[in-house]
Amino acid sequence: MAQDVTIFYFAALREQMGREKETVSLPAQSVTVEALVMELRQKDVGMDEVFAASPRIRVAINQTLATFQDTVKPGDELAFFPPMTGG
């Protein structure tokens, strides 16, 4: 539980993933978004296909735009989504 992070998916990515939210365990106390995603894709073929087909996925950590090189810590709120189209 102490290693858990919450992940949200939005818009087309939410539909493709078939869920809007999930809780996952971090493989280590501190990993990059990239490392976490790689680990999750290895365990989840559906997610692997979705992420492979969407080269422009954006990430936010704790409601702030981040990059796949940024670090995720236990308790963080992650979100993955397509490029934003507001306004």
Binding site: F8, F10, A11, A12, R14, R56, A60, Q63, T64, L65, A79, F81, P82, P83, M84, T85, G86, G87
Partner: protein, 149 residues
Amino acid sequence: MLRVLVQNELFDMGAEMDRLSADSWGIGGISVFMGQVRDGPDGLESLTLEHYPGMTEKVLTELAAEAVKRFRLIGCTLIHRVGTLVVGAPIVFVGTSSAHRAEALAGTNFLIDRLKTGAPFWKCERYQDGRQVWVDAREADDKAAASWD
């Protein structure tokens, strides 16, 4: 004064302009942009705007604060609607006030350019034939946003 709202309800443009000018000390110009669901020949019926509750308000508030500082704005209002909006419906209201016109105009331009690609909103179009299509990000919008870097 900052005013940031994310809501499904329609906003009252006249009241929002009055609010920007009421607090009038030192204000010489007010600039407003309003975006609406474009009616066209393509059979679009409505847009559904999805957003990231919490992050949306945070990003819009930061954006407004940056605009105030950068363009010496006196007032700044950002209202963005979410949910399903039919063609012709207002989507977004950006309003700024400042001592001189150039700052208000530039502030509004900055805000709408940055908001388009930097705030967590996503549009899904629904057509009369039932098709639902997620709107693709436009490269021109990325360029417009980057022009303020």
